[in-house]
């Protein structure tokens, strides 16, 4: 089945710094989402982005589907950005289970004041 790899696994930032999180996937996808899991465990949708670029405030994301990767940019990080960021994809060729998202292992971000 499709493999989803995220990097780095852990990231520590000083408040105000910028960062880039990466998601590589091994096959074509129909759907790609970025989520933020806050320290209380709630998963919050950040972007639906199977291709192209989107921006929402200090966050932006770019997916280059032909090269099978997506990037999440966090600018001027704040302590409230701490948590785990997950990339999740739906395979485009019905490999394995169809209709559900396959999650990467996440990037754990800690923003220090």
């Amino acid at each position: 089945g499709i493999q989803v790899e995220q990097s780095p696994p852990d990231l520590i930032l000083q408040e105000g710094a910028n960062s880039t999180l990466r998601c590589n996937f091994s096959d074509s996808v129909n759907n790609l989402q970025w989520f933020h899991q806050n320290p209380w465990g709630q998963l919050i949708n950040l972007f639906y982005i199977p291709s192209g670029t989107k921006q929402n405030g200090r966050l932006s994301a770019t997916t280059v589907a032909t090269e099978r990767y997506s990037l999440l940019y966090i600018s001027s990080s704040q302590t409230t950005d701490s948590g785990v960021y997950f990339c999740a994809v739906e395979p485009g060729n019905y490999g394995g289970s169809q209709g559900n998202l396959i999650f990467g292992k996440g990037t754990k971000l800690s923003v220090k004041p």
């Binding site: 759907n31 989402q33 465990g41 709630q42 998963l43 639906y48 199977p50 209709g99 559900n100």
Partner: protein, 116 residues
């Protein structure tokens, strides 16, 4: 509007007992998903319901796990004869259509299951 809700938020049970976890999806959402998240890990797909189609059970780890959904509303995940390795957070998500058609998944807060 209201999001996905799950109950209970926490459940502690003894090894060997059965447990039921409940998910109320967003009203009108046709698709419902169950995932499991072990401590410090990503999410593992368990089961997927889409409208009146037969559910995709391919992610269920053993025959001790089962799930039902009543129409396009509430779903119950049942774990029989719980084992310690079943300890995890169980997350439910729903969408307004098929992921491949561009619909986003929205997650509930999860049920933290601890098997002692």
């Amino acid at each position: 509007g209201a999001g996905v809700s799950q109950s209970p938020s926490n459940k502690v049970t003894e090894k060997g007992k059965d447990v039921e976890l409940r998910c109320d999806p967003i009203s009108g959402h046709t698709a419902l998903y169950w995932y499991r998240q072990r401590l410090g890990q990503g999410l593992e797909f368990l089961i997927y319901f889409q409208g009146n189609s037969a559910p995709d059970k391919s992610g269920l780890p053993s025959d001790r796990f089962s799930a039902e959904r009543t129409g396009e509303s509430v779903s119950t995940l049942t774990i029989q004869r719980t084992q310690q390795e079943d300890s995890a957070v169980y997350l439910c998500a729903s969408t307004d259509g098929r992921l491949r058609q561009g619909y986003e998944q929205y997650f509930g807060p999860g049920t933290r299951l601890t098997v002692t």
